[in-house]
Each structure stands twice: as structure tokens, then as C-alpha cells.
Subunit: 339 residues, 4 copies
């Protein structure tokens, strides 16, 4: 932590700051500058955000943190990339890309089973589908809940694909975990710490989506919440951030992929469907994500998007998805990955 004093701060103020730094268990180092003093506080900053409170002290201009506040998620703690195993034969973070595909919501048996088979035939390794849906409006379709989980299990049986589905409430996490192969934390719950802690206590991989206005550092702190409870099997998913641009539903921040790869050992995938909100742009952004270094993709596929209960405009039909997967192979190869 670096404490920047005001230009012309009184010596007394500086002494108070030094005293307080020592009280907090750090060792202060003063650098006398030409117009102001700067104080370095040496010691592990993690878990001690209280240093920031020095900003309230007389004569202090601001306090600049130096260390990243996450540990378990960091490359400093674990240098080599992690491979998260989802089931026998399906994992994320290795040489093989993992593509998860399926509808936004589970709507009925035929829909989910047919889609599962179609996306498997096109090369997807996992099925996605929402049973508990976090919807902006209380009047929108909220998902089939447990019935949706049963249908997903049915689709898994028929297609052989493991599935990931969203959890939205600590009270139903265990129920979902009984059925699902991986639990998803959605963007709106990415800082729902009660939920993060709960999934951190289960022996089940977690797909953590980036919140809409989450910095990369906060994203890693949310992963750290899960990991600090004991569950190290976390996959990160970039799914678009909120910006001023309205031509796309969100702005898919693909530069987050190389940044995350540098800072964390966890696998990183991208969701071009939510990222763009428009099926026209999904293929281009799927290719781009893989070129940027993503370990996989999550893509919405619906056999009848005009009749979808949610997110129709961003869903691909199975035939379009199959063509995407065909072309994706070329980009995977260019990136030194398999599909």
C-alpha cells in the first residue's frame, strides 16, 4: 500500500499516519518527494483492506493498493493452468476446447431432448439450459424449476451430454446439485456472496459468469469467495459488460481473456450469445473468443427461437450452430487447440 500525503502536509499529520500504519501491523517507509511525501507500507495487504481507511486521516491525499487482493485464484499461488474436470471425459482448461450449448430456458421434454441431441451431433460437449431463471421482470417466465431439472437429466440420459444449469438461491442449491453436473452462477448473482459461499461448500464444479459491471479484479474476488470455502473447481465466463453501446445487448470484453489468463490459473470461457444478444454476431464472436485464448464457449441454441420463452433473438438454430462448429474447428486448430 502506498500512502500519498498532501503537498505541504504538516509533519504532525505524517507522524500520525506512520503511527497508525505501525498499529495496523505494517512497516512504513517514507520517501521525501519534491512536493510531497509518499509512504510505503510493507506487509501482506490481503485481508486488511482497513488500510484504505487511512484516507480519512489529516494530510493524506490518497491510498494506492499495490497487491492484488486475491490469493487462491492467482497465478502467484499456482503458476500452471488448472484443468477443471466436469465428468469423465469432459473438462475445461486442457488442450481440448469445451463447448456448452442449449436453450436459454428448458421449456419441455421434446425441446430439451431434441436440442441436446442436435448440439451433441454438432460437437458440443455439454448441454446448457435454465430451470431456475433470474428474469428482470416478475411477469416473465421464471423457469420450470425442479421439473426443468428432471427434463435436463432426461436429456442427459438420451444424449450422453453432462449439463450445467443456473442456481439463484442458496435454499435450492442442493436440490440443483443433485441433478446437475456443473452449477452456474449468473451475471446478476456474481456478487451474491451468500450464494457464492454456498456453492463453495459443495463438491461440484462451478461456472461463474462475470457481472455486468464487474471489473476483472472483482470477478476474481468472486471466484476467491467460492475457492476460500473449499471448492477449487471454478470456470470463469466472460459474457459481456454494460457500456453505452446499444447496438449489442452487452459489450463482450474479449480482452478480459488474455488479462485473466495472465492473472489466474482458472479456465476461462466466453458466452457470445449473451455477449451480443443477437444471433447474427454469435459466430464471429465465438471464433474471436477462441482466437483470444478462451478454453471454451457457451452458446444458446434453440430449435424454434421465434417461439422461445426467453432470449429468442440471441439463439441459433441447430443447423446454424452445426455450421459454426464446423468453422470453429479451423480457428481451434490455429490456436493450437482441439475441438
Amino acid at each position: 500500500m502506498i500512502i500519498v500525503m498532501k503537498a505541504g502536509a504538516a509533519k504532525k499529520d505524517r507522524e500520525e499516519v506512520l503511527k497508525r500504519i505501525r498499529e495496523l501491523g505494517y512497516k512504513p517507509h517514507v520517501i521525501h518527494g519534491t512536493t510531497r511525501d509518499v509512504i510505503g507500507a510493507v506487509g501482506d495487504e490481503r485481508g486488511k483492506r482497513v488500510l484504505q481507511s487511512l484516507e480519512s486521516m489529516h494530510g493524506v491525499e490518497n491510498v494506492v493498493p499495490i497487491l492484488q487482493p486475491y490469493k487462491l485464484a492467482s497465478r502467484e499461488v499456482k503458476k500452471e493452468p488448472s484443468v477443471v474436470r466436469i465428468t469423465d471425459g469432459v473438462s475445461a482448461g486442457g488442450k481440448e476446447l469445451v463447448v456448452m450449448a442449449g436453450p436459454c430456458s428448458v421449456e419441455g421434454e421434446e425441446q430439451i431432448v431434441e436440442t441436446a441431441v442436435a448440439v451433441r451431433d454438432a460437437g458440443a460437449r455439454m448441454l446448457r439450459g435454465g430451470a431456475f431463471k433470474p428474469r428482470t421482470s416478475p411477469y416473465s417466465f421464471q423457469g420450470l424449476e425442479e421439473e426443468g431439472l428432471r427434463l435436463l437429466a432426461k436429456a442427459r440420459k438420451v444424449s450422453g451430454l453432462p449439463f450445467v444449469t443456473e442456481v439463484v438461491n442458496p435454499e435450492t442449491v442442493e436440490l440443483v446439485a443433485e441433478y446437475a453436473d456443473m452449477l452456474q452462477i449468473g451475471a446478476r448473482n456474481a456478487q451474491n456472496f451468500a450464494l457464492l459461499k454456498r456453492v463453495g461448500q459443495l463438491p461440484k464444479p462451478v461456472l461463474l459468469k462475470r457481472g455486468m459491471s464487474m471489473t476483472i479484479q472483482e470477478f476474481l474476488m468472486s471466484a476467491e469467495y467460492i475457492m476460500s470455502e473449499g471448492n477449487q473447481e471454478v470456470i470463469l465466463c466472460e459474457r459481456g459488460i454494460r457500456t453505452f453501446e446499444t447496438a449489442t445487448r452487452n459489450t463482450l470484453d474479449l480482452s478480459a481473456i488474455p488479462v485473466l489468463k495472465e492473472r489466474t490459473h482458472l479456465p476461462v470461457i466466453a458466452d457470445p450469445s449473451h455477449g451480443t444478444g443477437n444471433y447474427h454476431y454469435v459466430a464471429a464472436m465465438a471464433f474471436a473468443a477462441v482466437a483470444a485464448g478462451a478454453d471454451g464457449l457457451m452458446i444458446e441454441v434453440h430449435s424454434d427461437p421465434e417461439h422461445a420463452s426467453s432470449d429468442g433473438p440471441q439463439s441459433l438454430k441447430p443447423a446454424k450452430f452445426a455450421r459454426l462448429m464446423e468453422k470453429l474447428k479451423l480457428f481451434a486448430e490455429a490456436a493450437g487447440r482441439t475441438l
Copy 2:
């Protein structure tokens, strides 16, 4: 809903769209334009977001919603402003402004009782203080939990001020409701729909903070979640949105106040402490919020901000808060309010 067709869309595509609009229970009206057709779909759009899925159809350029999707929160349903009663003698939305003040976190009995008395003496009508804290880092102080609630109750007894405190988990909502006079939904949980529904089922006023990247429309949809469960006692709180500017912790969007006042009958308050993240700017923004039409304020006050467990830099000392309240009276009067 307005459906904009592509320039040169085939007649067949248009007929398909018209058919689908009728299937969904709307009455279509075609306007033949100079370069493209536009179709108006007449019927109540609320609860039928499925119309958006028409965007997937051939020949459709985009779909523009016309109606606001909230009902209970809207001025169309209730024209006159609502007054939310918190306790006998304390309410929000009437002529009298309501100021809620206190520390970010409850840290101990002396701290919370002293602060409660101090803010009461300065003119605050409610005490605020966190017992369950949603913290970005799992290694930060997470609050005293039930012990914190007991201390808040103690402070209420001594000071006579009712208190508001945050809920973070559906599982502990009822516990908090046993102690608190008002439940707070924090910015990070503003789209935690499971939590919104739970507080909507209790006979207890709710202070709903705007999420960091929430549009005003989404903010009102979150209020609608609470109200649609039966609880109409909702107070909205503007607390800053996330933008590119880093001179302040968030960007307090005061224009949200007149916009909200136009669209909803619910009371609206502002939180200049979280909004700016810096105690230097709190008074200016408190005055501005009242001038913009706010029904009240939430302000962080801590007797010893240099030693605060959280949010020290944005907390006022009691003496500064008392001076703020003194000056606030002048602005309240200019706004035709009492304090």
C-alpha cells in the same frame, strides 16, 4: 410493440410476422413506409416479453417496446405519491425529509450506541448500520451478524431511532426482520430476485438500492418484484452508478431523482456517501440531492473513521454531520420541505 421490417423484406416474411403477432394475442397494424414497413402490435405488452422473440424472424430488423414493463410501481397505476410509513412518526415521501445515518458496519456496542445518539441529536430520524455485510473480498470483515442486530436494537432503545439494516440471504431475512424497522436490499443484490421475492412477502418496509449498472427501468422492475409479492412499502435509493470516472467511487446519478419522480409514486432517497466514496464530497451531494427532489438521505457517520472496519474514507464524523444537517435545513426549506 413496434416491429420494424427490413428494407425490401419479402411480402411472405411480413405475412409470417402478422400471423405470429396474432397468435401471441396482439392486433397488428401495418404502416407502409417509403423504404420499409413498420408494424404496430396493439395489446398490453406487460408480462409478454415474448414479442421480442419476433426479432429472430426473417425480414425483421428490430422490435421496439413502447410500454414501460412495470405496473404497480408506475404513476399510471397510482398517480399520487406514496408515503411509506416506517414507524409511528417516521415515514418517507411526505413533506418531511427523512435522514438515515450511522456507520457502514456495526462494530461494537459503544460505537453504535454513541453514533445513534449523536446522529439523533443532529436531526437524523433513522439509524443505519450493517450487521450482515456483502464485502467484495472473502477476507474482509463480514459483519457481526445476529450480534450486530442485537446491538442495533440496543442503540434503538437508547436513542429512540428506528433502524434499517441490510439483508443478504433469503435464509436470514426473517431473522433480520425480527429486529429491524426496515430491510435494506444493497446494490449488489438489486437483481437477486430470490431475495426480492422474500422481502416482498413480509409486512416490513424495504429500502431498495439501485444496482451499480442498473438502468432506471430495471430499478423499477426490481421494485415491481417486491410489490408483486404483496409488499407495497418500498423506498428507492439512488447510490451511484458505475462509470469510467475514477475521481469518485461511483457516479451519483442525481438526474435519476426527477426521472423516478415522474415515473413512479414511490419515495426516492439518495446516498451521497456510497455515491461519492469520499467524505469531502458528501455534504455538497446531500444538498444537491434534496434540491433535485429527494425525499431523504442515507449518510454514513462514524465516530472514528480512521479505525472503521469498512468504508472509512466515506464516513463523516458526528460533528461534521451535525454541521451538514444545519446547512441542509436551508436547502430543505428552499425545496419546500421540512427536516
Copy 3:
């Protein structure tokens, strides 16, 4: 400047960095931390952004600037607030608030003269009106150009109000300066450095609007451009930044007012018309700006907004403006100002 080394950086890398710091004319101070070293580089950083290039060196994690990069605009250089004199009797930054009002564009003699008289009668001290218009579309009305300047001069003669008008091209700055009492740099040109330098060479006050995605620091750097050419008569204008919120045209960042007041001695005004883009919200935000500490306001007034060539939706009719000014007096008084 603080140079943060990577955890485990080689001693050799550190030595290279120290050498380079000395070459650049700074004195390095090493602080040995528990996981990494931090180097303070002492010396005036202003005008030497080249230190940032140390980030390219081996073993360097990042480089954190400590000093604000502006001088002439800063409170460190000039402690007391500046009063910018526009004409005899009209100035900004003193006890009296200065309100500038008028149409977005000058459209004709009757329009501008009538509006000038009306806003003067309501208490405005300056007339505003665009002759050279920066319009997003090449097909939109681009202003009356020199004819517009002549009409503004006519309106000044009749009403007695000095006027401010925008400059958009270094080639026409002198022409505009022959007519106008103050030159305006619009938001889209706030980092048009050629234009900033040109107005910095004239003995004419400048109203500098904040760019749509400009940080407060960049805003002050643009003021510094003007001042470093010799012209110290700069008034800053907050007019809204671009965010994700679409309920208002921009997000008026009123917290910029206390932040600017702390960092610079220059006067600061606000433009609630462009800030909100909707005449419904102008009065509330005008009051709020004054409560936040603004030295004045710029407000769009048009006698016939339904027929305005530009920005009709955000213009007030003269009668509404007069009522706003009436009520504004109360807020000015609460803020210890006169109107």
C-alpha cells in the same frame, strides 16, 4: 511515480529500472516488500510522462503516477478561487451566480432577439446561442455561421446581455472572437488540442465543456492546454457524461462540481439542458447544481421548441424559464450566493 516490481523479479531487472530512472532525471528509492519491491521515483513528474514507458521493462508490474499532471489549473499553484471577468458587470466565480440562457441554435433575428430579452427579464446575465453548430449528422442544420454571429450581436445590443457562442474550427476562431464576449469549446471538441491552443492565444474568456467520456483529470488537462498558451480566463462546464443509462441523454455528473472545486481554482458551471436532454428535468438539476456548489448555469431556452432546428426536447419556454429562475433564488440563497 511509483514503480511496482513483479513478485520475484530478478535483481538484474531491478538494477536496470533504477538505472533508467536515474537517466530520466529522477531519484529512485527502493522499498523492499514482503512479496515484491516497490520503487519511488522522486522528482517533478509533470511534463515527463515518459516514466510510464518503464512499464515495458522486464520485471515491472505497473507504474502508478502520484502527482496530478496539471499545474496552472491546480489549487496547488493558486489557492484562492479565480473570478473570470466576462464584461464589466458580468463575471463567474464570485458570490453572484451567472446564468447563461438562450437557444441551441440562432435561427433568425426575431427568435434570438426575443429570446435574449425574455431571458434577461427572467434574470439571466448572459445570452447563449450557436452560430457554428457541431452536428452528429452532416445532413442536420449546421448553423447560420457569420450571419448567426451578427444576429447575436444584434440581440446583445437590444438586450444588453453579453453572449457566448461555440467555436468549432481553428480557422474561424478569430472571426467568432470579433463578435463574441466568450468563446465556447463544445464537448465534442474538448480534446481538439489544435482548437484549445488557438483559443489559448486570444484575450477572450473561454467556456470549456467537459467531453462526453472525459475524466475530471483529462478535463483539467484540456483547461491546462488553454492556460499554457497564456489565456487564464477559463470557465469549466459540467454537461453530462456518457453512461449506460438511456432515460436521460447524458448523465449529469454533479459530483464533478465538488471534486473540481477541490482541485482547481477555476469557476465551474453546469448545463442541465444537455446534461438531461429533457426539459422536464432541467429545473431539478439546475437547483441541484447550485446546491452542489456550481458558480453558474447554462440553460437552453427557446420561444418555440416544437419548431426548433436542434435540441427542441431539452429547451424550456421563456415562461417556464422565468419560474425556474424565481425558484432558483431560494437555492442560491441557501448556498450563500446571489442571483
Copy 4:
């Protein structure tokens, strides 16, 4: 244009709106909805933004534009993609990708000539380098100006690469055009309409960078400014937008590439150096841009980034650039392009 009336608007208000629509040369169509009326105004909206002013009328809720306001840049006017010819043998928008590389600023003859040769040898088809530099600080290096142009011409002679360089002032556009093969409009001048018009009058291709807070629609309107003056040779460049994320200097919006490709026939390239601000991330984002459909890249290369006068942290050394180009070939091939 769609005019949405307020719920319960008076018949008289509606009649006034209809009358005004007819006055403006449009044909109104009323759709009577269940809670409000909606009016379609038929006629070409381009160049008539004045319809927006209907929002000021009594009883009007809001006005929704339907058409995109650009013509010459649109796919509706020209369906097939444009190929912009820069010199014999170098063009953008065809099958071959065009890579432009070089330093941020021209600093001296050796630097620019050496870099030109190095980037040519690695496969770049154009040289980039700034002679007139728009710098945030007036105290930063502002470029070598005409001397820089001469050095760029020298480097062109030695390397055989044509060059692109930035224009910042209408007064020096012709001077730059005498030397350069293509003129660049930088992000800060992307809405400097005086400058756009000037380059639109010259027979010289223009590289237009997206402004930091420019929507895609505004970006195309700036291209339209150039094209409406007669110059159709415009190449668009996505270079990152400003968001809340600070891990990268800007957020490279790669989804802008497929969106632009859908809306305009103009070639689109990407600048991963400014987009990320960090040389670590440049290669990943270069690959991603090509996978997303970009027609080329602009990349900063500097032989000695630690000593660069500007933008050192985002510059690649020649050897790293050569490795990037090697790997880029694989992605170009996957995208069906040549390099």
C-alpha cells in the same frame, strides 16, 4: 419515426401532433392502442432530425427513430463490400488482410527507418507513425510535425511501404496530404466535424478511428461526414471504447466488427495496441480481431519501447511483432483470408 403519445393524452394534443407531422412533410398514421396511441410518420427521416422536436409537444411521451440516419456508408445504398485502394498493390477490404505497423510517434530517422524495414520484413503492408500528435497533456511531446513527415517519406523510400499518419488540424491537412498515402483521424477528433469535412474534400484515403465514447451509429455518421464531401475512400478502425474496466487502457469492442460489417460496406480494421494499452495482450486481440472478421490491423511496433516518447507500454518490439505475424497467418487462413 414513431411518435408515442402519453396514456390518456387529449384528442386535441393528438390533433396538434398530426398537424405538425404534416407540416414537416411526413404522412401520419395513427394506431389506437389499448392504453395509448402511437403515430407512425412516413417519409424519409434522414436530414430531418427536427422530428425529434415533437417530443416537446403536449401529450407526447417520446419519439422513436426507425431509420438509420446514414446513407452513403450504409449497406442499403451499396450492398457489396468496398475495397479501398491505398496505393498500387495495397488496399483494404479485399481478400488480403492489411497490417499497418510502426511506432506511436516518429522520433528520429534511425528509429523510423529501422522500424519500417523491420515491420516490412515481418509482413506488414503499411507503415504507421505520428508526426502531429494529439496528447492529453500540453507538456507531453507533441510530435516532430513537418520534420516527422519528411522522415516518414524517407522510411517509405527505404522500405517501400506506404504510410498513414494522423491529421489534427484543418489548417495542416493539406501539408500532411502532400506526404502521406493515407490520412488518419484519431479517436479524439472523431467528431471534429471541421476536420472530417476537410479530409472529405481531398482525393486521399482516410483511416477513421472510433471515438472513445462513440456509438457505432455515430461512428458511421462521422464516416458519412467524409463521404458526403465527396471522398468515398474511408476505412473504419475499432480501437477500444471507454468503460469502467481499468485492467486495459480501453475496452476493445470486437463485436463492433460484425455489427459494422452488417451495416456498412466500408472496410473495418482493429487497433489492438490502443485497444488494450499493454503489449502483453496485443497478439491475442490481433488474432481475435481477424477471427471476428476484421480486414486488417494497426499495431504499434517500437525498436526500443523503454525509451519511447509516447505509448511505450503498448508497443511490441520487432521480434515479438514478427512472431505475431507468423501466428496471425494461421488465423487469417482459418478466416479465409491471406496475409
